[in-house]
Subunit: 120 residues, 2 copies
DNA sequence: AATACAATTAAACGATTGCTTAATTGTTAA
DNA sequence: TTAACAATTAAGCAATCGTTTAATTGTATT
């Protein structure tokens, strides 16, 4: 397999530097995860569900958002595998998924809050 | 300061669980960072610039994208403080910013690649 | 069965996003 | 001062996104 040379050669041995670069599909998969948390409402919902298990009405109250809007976000987070749900009577309870991925993202959020908002 | 009670009380002492919840503005700031990496092209560019310093033409070649499209992404990443640039003659070189935030995100990407694509 | 409540879904909308093509700016070399 | 190359900017466009309102589904109670 031959690699196409770059238009400019600055003599940096780029092939070694970019060795084991992930496939484009892998970058896409990771960006799909990041995009889930790329919305202020959704990242707050995810954080909430990392700290408690709650029904949609209470999540809506905590978020000060309509329940259809919250439901919409919950569906996306669930499709992404970041949260899980269970029905108990009339109510559906949501919480963060018990996965490496969800734990990593939760930890990441806490770290970024500390870094990007040092004054608070 | 009084906190408004939730519509439903499931007896979980939610006030304690949600203690030191970040402000809405902090969630917004963190989600702004995540959104930068919520695009397959941009996350790949950022990864590249974590591993080498390159000019726009070479980034375009590596990405197989037009230079205006790449320039557009570079501007966003730079505005977010994730990359820096320097001009040398006719060319502008970009690389990842030397900040805690950028390092954390780079590390995070590598971890997520390993988690979400275990077979590769 | 009928009612009430919780949650989801559907349709519609304004706003944002990522890319394309074309024009423009910045720098170097002839 | 041209000419050529690198990079950015601008305008336009289809596609996606987040929310709202209204209708629908699911469950429990009377």
């Amino acid at each position: 397999m031959t690699k196409k040379p770059l238009p400019h050669n600055h003599g940096q041995n780029i092939e070694r530097q970019l060795d084991h670069m992930p496939e484009t599909a892998e970058f896409q998969a990771v960006s799909d995860v990041f995009r889930q948390l790329g919305d202020g409402s959704r990242i707050k919902i995810f954080w909430l569900l990392c700290h408690c298990e709650e029904c949609v009405i209470n999540i809506s109250a905590l978020m000060e958002m309509s329940s259809p809007a919250v439901s919409h976000h919950l569906r996306q987070l669930k499709a992404a595998g970041l949260i899980v749900s269970r029905r108990d009577g009339k109510e559906v309870y949501y919480k963060a998924a018990d996965t490496k991925e969800a734990q990593l993202l939760h930890h990441m959020i806490e770290e970024l809050v500390a870094i990007t908002c040092p004054a608070l």
